[in-house]
């Protein structure tokens, strides 16, 4: 079998995660999990949507450093990515920090991609890395779809870009700050292989990403020799209802039943029936804020012990889709475990 699972040589800890979200996310089922939101209008006091997203990233990173009593000199690197061209939300949002910056693009898989690289960097440097990911419904609509006030109907397979930013503190030392509970480690990493199975419908991103998620999940279980039942949760990023059922169906056809432990961040963040979000949430912010705000505290508190985060991304370019090309997907896997025991 190709490509081994990467394991950090020393324990690497996922120490903390901060979240800043929009109104729709704050009133959703996980609303109470998030650190901050804009009670007014999702502009975060800025005059453009792009600046609003940058401000969310800045607030998430600032809160993370403050909460852990860290200064710029205490962090080796900032890794961040978003959906906007040139990753402007990350680049501009992290301008105030005097920390080396590495920009990432993995579409909606950016949070998982960031955690993989942050874990490797923490392992390599023996220090701390901050990794952030963000998306904003309004800036994403502008870039990928229609103007905000354009009147149209969405297809049932379409997804709703999450307004949210999260920042993670990844460290080679256990750092609990004032938080109680168990230590949370990043135990295993499996970067995804891009996969293009010919989906051209930009309103069905779940279908574009499902084959990539399937490939990563199949490779992981084949390489690790584990079974889905040994995990509390296999958490995909934003497959939504459409991609989730495709993934579970295709996995079952391959002889792997993950449906009992499979959850999807895009199906957790909104009350889909009530809030008209169709196939669920998506965007870099989706898996980022659910992992930081909901999964990490659950691991710490003992409600979860062993989680596979499979960050899914559709590498969509509206221009290239107009040129007739289909949409590739990618899915990065991060195994997050709680407790001190070694494997």
């Amino acid at each position: 079998m190709r490509h081994a699972i990467w394991k950090p040589r020393r324990p690497v800890y996922l120490c903390d995660g901060t979240t800043v979200v929009g109104h729709e996310e704050a009133v959703g089922p996980l609303g109470a999990c998030f650190d901050r939101y804009d009670p007014k209008d999702d502009t975060f006091g800025q005059s453009t949507w792009e600046a609003a997203e940058s401000e969310m990233v800045r607030q998430a990173a600032k809160l993370l450093l403050e909460r852990n009593g860290l200064g710029a000199e205490d962090v080796e690197a900032l890794l961040a990515g978003d959906l906007l061209n040139q990753c402007t939300a990350s680049g501009y949002g992290l301008l105030p920090f005097d920390i080396p910056y590495l920009g990432l693009y993995g579409a909606c898989s950016t949070a998982a991609e960031g955690l993989i690289l942050a874990a490797l960097l923490a392992d390599f440097t023996g220090g701390r890395t901050v990794s952030a990911a963000s998306s904003h419904f309004c800036s994403a609509e502008r870039q990928f779809r229609f103007p905000m006030e354009y009147g149209g109907q969405r297809t049932p397979t379409s997804q709703w870009t999450v307004t949210g930013a999260a920042a993670f503190l990844v460290s080679a030392q256990r750092e609990d700050g004032t938080r109680r509970g168990r230590a949370v480690r990043i135990a295993e990493l499996l970067p995804g292989i891009t996969s293009d199975r010919g989906v051209t419908d930009a309103n069905n991103m779940g279908a574009a990403m499902a084959p990539a998620a399937l490939d990563t999940v199949l490779r992981y279980f084949s390489l690790s020799g584990r079974t889905p039942e040994s995990f509390d949760m296999i958490l995909t990023g934003d497959l939504g209802s459409e991609g989730s059922s495709l993934l579970c169906g295709m996995a079952r056809a391959e002889g792997l039943d993950i449906s009992r432990v499979h959850r999807d961040c895009g199906l957790m963040i909104y009350d889909n029936e009530r809030s008209d979000k169709h196939a669920g949430g998506s965007g870099c912010g989706c898996s980022a804020v659910v992992t930081a705000g909901h999964i990490l505290p659950a691991l710490r508190a003992g409600r979860l012990t062993d989680v596979l985060l499979v960050g899914t991304g559709a590498l969509l370019s509206p221009m290239v889709v107009q040129q007739g090309r289909s949409i590739p997907g990618v899915a990065h896997l991060v195994r997050i475990t709680a407790g001190e025991e070694e494997d």
Partner: protein, 148 residues
């Protein structure tokens, strides 16, 4: 269990949840019909105020465009359209919203490269091919008249 095999896009299309066509049509008929009935009312009102038939028709169009632009600007139109679908898209309201929403959206990039350059980003194809179709039909009509 149906598996994707080699034709994944076909499998995906078969698997995808369909739009509720009957519900969408009913809503489009209801809202679109209401807009058209209101426009007929306006036409009668303008005629009663002394406008010629041609002028009254023009005034109705202008009124609908202004109202749509206003509703787009205050953020109401997209909510109505999400409910109505083709009911707001097919009348002149759809075209007016396509122009006005681009103008509102592009304001952050300034008057020249923002609003000026992007105002027809959505409605542009309608203008280009609507004009081209008009020219083509004009030539055809002229030829028909010559040979009549």
């Amino acid at each position: 269990m149906d598996t994707p095999g080699s034709d994944y896009p076909k499998y995906v299309r078969k698997h995808a949840k369909r739009s509720p066509l009957a519900r969408d049509c009913a809503r489009a008929f209801l809202v679109g019909g209401t807009i058209c009935a209101a426009a007929e009312g306006l036409l009668a009102a303008y005629r009663a105020l002394g406008a010629s038939e041609e002028d009254a028709g023009l005034l109705v169009s202008v009124t609908l465009i202004v109202l749509t632009a206003l509703c787009t600007g205050i953020g109401v139109f997209d909510r109505l359209a999400r409910f109505a679908g083709a009911g707001t898209l097919v009348p002149i309201t759809g075209f007016a919203n396509a122009v006005a929403s681009c103008a509102v959206d592009a304001k952050s990039e300034g008057w020249i490269l923002g609003v000026g350059a992007k105002i027809f980003a959505v409605a542009g194809p309608v203008i280009v091919y609507g004009t081209a179709a008009g020219v083509a039909w004009g030539i055809l009509y002229r030829l028909i008249r010559v040979f009549q």
